[in-house]
Amino acid sequence: MNHSIDWRHSVRVMVVLAILGLTAFPIYWMLVTAMTSSGNLFASPTHLTPDLKQWPVFSKVFGETPVAIWLKNSALVALGTTGLSLLLAVLPAYALSRFRFAGVGLLGLGLFVTQMLPEAMLVVPLYAIFGQLSLLNTLTGLILVNTAFTVPVITWILKGAIDGIPIDIEEAASIDGCSRLGTVFNIVIPLIAPSLAATAVIAFFHGWNEYVFAQTLISDAHLHTASVGLAGFVGELSTPLHSVMAIGLMYTLPAVFFYLLVQRYVVAGMTAGSVKG
């Protein structure tokens, strides 16, 4: 019996290690590539470990390229998208969950319709609109367009989470003196904190990784985000791979750290409301 249990545990560990390997290996390979000299990149046999002597590549990249500015812009756009998305999604999610009114179903469906439109299709009309609103070439404009894409998804996720809160608790709050808005701030939002964290991750990564609008709506080099700056590194004649990978690694790590901060809320948030507590 004990042997049977150990065998299953070993298989489980091996599967987890395999999945971990598959997902972590690209990041590791970026590190190896960044810390391998140009001459050895395509050498045989392939270098499987980073060359620690190549450590100055990171400081060189920081010195020779505006990667710090790109990362700052990406951070501003990602955090701005996250904050604005959550701010705009909470109350509609509450309304969709708690209020019954004519057209509530259509309204919900309407939120999904926006997700069917590819970004590339909207670039030209949005460019024209933003031009008239003087939002071209601004990080504010980029935050607004990213928010427009994330709010529908976040609204639906938060609606599901709010559905899982027993109505009794809100009624108790109203008897205790809470207005509807007070109930949302004092009771609902704290109880959907895991879902807020999960949706924050969604909004952050959308803002962090977004390329199409960042490339189209921003023309000034000092306003480029890291996704645009990194793409610009792929040259017509030569691509300094180790520099690209070094920047790519620096581009990846903040997002990974952000996820590590909120990861324990993500699964809880995604499944909140699915089982009656």
Binding site: D168, E171, A172, A173, S174, I175, D176, L181, G182, P190
Partner: protein, 404 residues
Amino acid sequence: MSSITLTQVTKVFVSKPVVDKVSLDVTSGEFLVLLGPSGCGKSTLLRMLAGLESLTSGEIHLGQRRVDALPPSARDMAFVFQSYALYPHMTVRRNMSFPLIMRQFKWWFHIPIIGHLAKRRIEASPEVSAMVDRTARILALTDMLDRYPRTLSGGQRQRVALGRAMVRQPEVFLMDEPLSNLDAKLRSSMRAEIIKLHRKLGGTFVYVTHDQIEAMTMGTRIVMMREGVVQQVGTPRDIYANPANTFVARFIGTPAMNLLLARMDAPQGQLEVGDQKFALPAHLASVTVGGSQDVLLGIRPNSLAIVDPQDKRGLAGTVSLVEHIGADSIITIKLDSVKTAHEGDSESDASDEIMLTKSGYSNLSAGSRVGVTMNLDNASIFSTSSGQRISTDLSVTCPVDFKN
């Protein structure tokens, strides 16, 4: 303390009245119990009192003040939910302080950090702390003030819910089946706690339950409801001894009152049950039904006694089931010559079985032949057509408008 007056209160859901023209007076300091089966409208009535449901029509007054248009927070009524409805993200102390914090609410409490600090300051203020600590002492919650609801047992959560209601010092306490989620033993002890609390606080309590034992032990008056209509209002003793109709008769008392088809001959002073004739007791002899008439005889299981099957005083029958419940035995008997009127009742599927309680352990078994005698001193008579009690005291036959 305040009295409550309900005047023709009605609630209609999708053209179906779930509370139908209920008029009641609840005197100040009373412990009124709303009792009835599931779906009878008692919880809806309580929620309308609290302001959690709107009225379709009618009025609710708290003292001299009309409150049916006011929001829940303006009615000065505390509500204890069946599910306790504790705030899971707040400690016991914060749960109990919350109503007092909300009393001092300002619009800028919505601002994230500033509001949080302001609320904490109110919670820590001497007045609020003293009130919470005093209430926690009464409910033996002092050691649990810094714990979260998820770490508490059912009984402890119930006490926190009571504490949250008490700190507000409201005019009225409304309780919606607060003990139904507890096990039998805990329910019994919490019942006693609530009764003591009522005596200590002296407030007006309106309590909803489907459990007749809770109603009989806790209430100063009981309001029996069925399908949105009040069937009877009275003290537990009145309702038990003088049920207004067959529904109340069968709902109150365990085992339920037996309803036997009988023929009443008032001029002769006789009651014919099966093949036996009984002399009408004084309290039934005064009822005039006009000659001979079919009636339903309501008789409690403890007013029946087992005799020898050859005893001519008794109604002959066969034992169907014997249940031993510790100090007593419940014996189900199928009578030979008597029909019963136990409609839609799960206790007895057959139409001619009665239930009888006997003190001590019964040696009878299924299939035994027995005779059953009846003590009619506390019996009731009901109309076979309407199910209403036939009595010279008309006040217990009116199903509507129970204003004092």
